[in-house]
């Protein structure tokens, strides 16, 4: 089991009942970010129509930035990153307004 904090920022909280911050206990051994993303899709996003707001072609939808402890997930192994207790995983929509 691993305890992490998950944040949905930049308006992305619409997919999780408009709650921005969630404390998650993930009941998976050696859980990776992929396990967390699956958990979000299966157990957190209540409306199936909202999954496409978050996922496209089995990865995080283009236009969403994923951060692991405030660092670009690309620097941390993306989906293969192994979660640790206390990690903060943030998803934020890219904004375009000016």
């Amino acid at each position: 089991m691993v305890k992490v904090k998950v944040e949905f920022l930049g308006g992305l909280d619409v997919v999780v009942n408009k709650v921005r911050v969630h404390d998650i206990n993930l009941m998976v051994d050696n859980a990776t970010l992929r396990d967390l993303v699956n958990y979000i899709c299966n157990d957190m996003i209540t409306n199936p129509n909202d999954i496409e707001v978050f996922i496209e072609d089995e990865s995080i939808r283009p236009g969403i930035i994923t951060l692991i402890n405030d660092t670009d997930w690309e620097l941390e192994g993306e989906m293969e990153y192994e979660l640790e207790d206390g990690d903060v995983i943030s998803f934020t929509s890219t904004l375009h307004g000016g």
Binding site: G10, G11, I65, D70, E74, T94, L95, H96, G97
Partner: protein, 436 residues
């Protein structure tokens, strides 16, 4: 006029002339000092901040040319600070005119400027704020064909635009010309900021976003709304970054790619995320770039196609009626309400103003019913598959999508979209209804 009066007048003119000469002298730089005395006074409070480098830093600002693209929610709070700081030349690219709906956030403009070009309105304010700054306006829409000509000669570019398309274009052109970009955006209560292509070694917009977002996930301030000071704060952050770039606070050695995220609600927070560096496989700034000046200027890079657009035109002409027809044949004629008027705007839009007889089911809620007539009946108890239904939204886009859903998924036979929506009705039929 008597001789005495004439002599008195001459004396007055002499005194005025002497004062003016003194003022003029004040503005002139002389051989002894690199700036005029007035500039020393003007920039004193900033020059005595040690990390600016004093006069040396001030001269860097004075010799810099900064191009600001967009004089809207980001540009308007940013511009006065750039001009105030004494940047030598500021270019402003914007072909929009000031509208009343801009003024809650674009406070460089004001109510008397409604209808004026934003770039000209901003120039008037900045000239008054600091006459030492050369303001150049470009009342054009930035495009692949004019961007290189406009960017040429500037040292830094500020992306204050409002679509993914312009953001890719600004970044691509800047990379090709070796310019650093301060890029920001805002929507609702949040904003983001980044420095791109730093000294031609940092990551560009395409390194962060190699694939554009799907068009239906992109929201504008007009559509999604925005809190003035939230986006305003991000515009001010852009001015801070620009001044730091000019003063060489960032160096190739200490610069770390970053993305700042400002959230205004519920608690204000400003976070800085550590971001990826330049990507070797980036199509624009990578090892084998295909997005070259030639490819951009020839139109070979198709930005419209790359970013895509939403397709709202999903109804046939006979599935739509004009607001005039709605008014004559329904709104005034059928007072007995034997048709259903469905308003599919978000509820918080609907609550601002709506037709008294309208039923509000936001298009998202309608989608989520997945065609279940039972669920539709829960919201509209008297609805049947044969009910005559008219659908409207703000501008007539979502209402077309809703009309399609009602006909195809809910199998309703008599549904029509009101062309142009609620706002078109207000414009053409009844301007006494509040428009937002």
């Amino acid at each position: 006029m008597s001789d005495n009066e004439l002599l008195k007048q001459i004396e007055q003119l002499k005194a005025e002339n002497a004062t003016l000469k003194k003022v003029l002298n004040d503005y002139k730089s002389n051989d002894e000092y690199p700036m005029s005395l007035e500039e020393y006074r003007r920039y004193g409070r900033q020059m005595i901040v040690e990390s600016t480098g004093g006069v040396k830093g001030q001269l860097k600002l004075k010799n810099s040319k900064v191009l600001v693209i967009g004089a809207g929610g980001l540009g308007s709070p940013c511009l006065p600070y750039l001009a105030g700081a004494g940047i030598g030349q500021i270019g402003i690219v914007d072909n929009d005119i000031v509208e009343t709906s801009n003024l809650h956030r674009q406070t460089i403009h004001d109510s008397t400027k409604v209808g004026m070009l934003k770039c000209e309105s901003a120039k008037q304010v900045l000239n008054k704020l600091n006459p030492h700054v050369n303001i150049i306006t470009y009342p054009v829409r930035l495009s692949y064909s004019n961007a290189f000509d406009i960017f040429e000669g500037y040292d830094y570019v500020l992306d204050c635009t409002d679509t993914p398309l312009t953001r890719y274009l600004v970044s691509d052109v800047a990379v090709n010309l070796g310019l650093t970009v301060v890029s920001a955006s805002g929507l609702g209560t949040e904003g983001q900021l980044s420095v791109l292509n730093f000294k031609n070694v940092g990551p560009c917009y395409r390194c962060f976003y190699p694939t554009p977002p799907p068009p239906n996930s992109v929201s504008s301030c007009q559509e999604g709304g925005v809190i003035g000071p939230c986006i305003g704060l991000v515009g001010v952050l852009m001015a801070v970054e620009t001044i730091k770039l000019i003063l060489d606070v960032y160096t190739v050695k200490n610069f770390q790619p970053f993305l700042m995220l400002y959230s205004g609600f519920p608690q204000q927070s400003l976070r800085t995320f550590k971001m990826r560096g330049r990507k070797a496989n980036c199509k624009c700034c990578g090892d084998e770039p295909t997005i070259t000046q030639n490819a951009i200027e020839s139109g070979e890079i198709n930005y419209e196609l790359f970013c895509g657009s939403r397709n709202y035109n999903v109804c046939t002409p006979d599935e739509r009626i004009s607001v005039e027809l709605f008014e004559s044949d329904y709104h005034t004629a059928k007072k007995d309400n034997n048709y259903i008027l469905l308003d599919v705007r978000p509820s918080h839009h609907f609550n601002i103003s709506h037709f008294p007889a309208a039923i509000n089911i936001p298009v998202k809620e309608l989608k989520d019913m997945n065609g279940s007539f039972e669920k539709l009946k829960e919201r509209i108890p008297n609805v049947t598959e044969d009910s005559e239904m008219l659908v409207l939204c703000r501008y007539g886009n979502d209402s077309q999508i809703a009309t399609r859903l009602l006909k195809d998924q809910f199998k309703m036979s008599d549904v029509k979209d009101i062309r142009g929506g609620f706002f078109s009705y207000i414009d053409s039929i009844d301007p006494s209804i509040p428009k937002y």
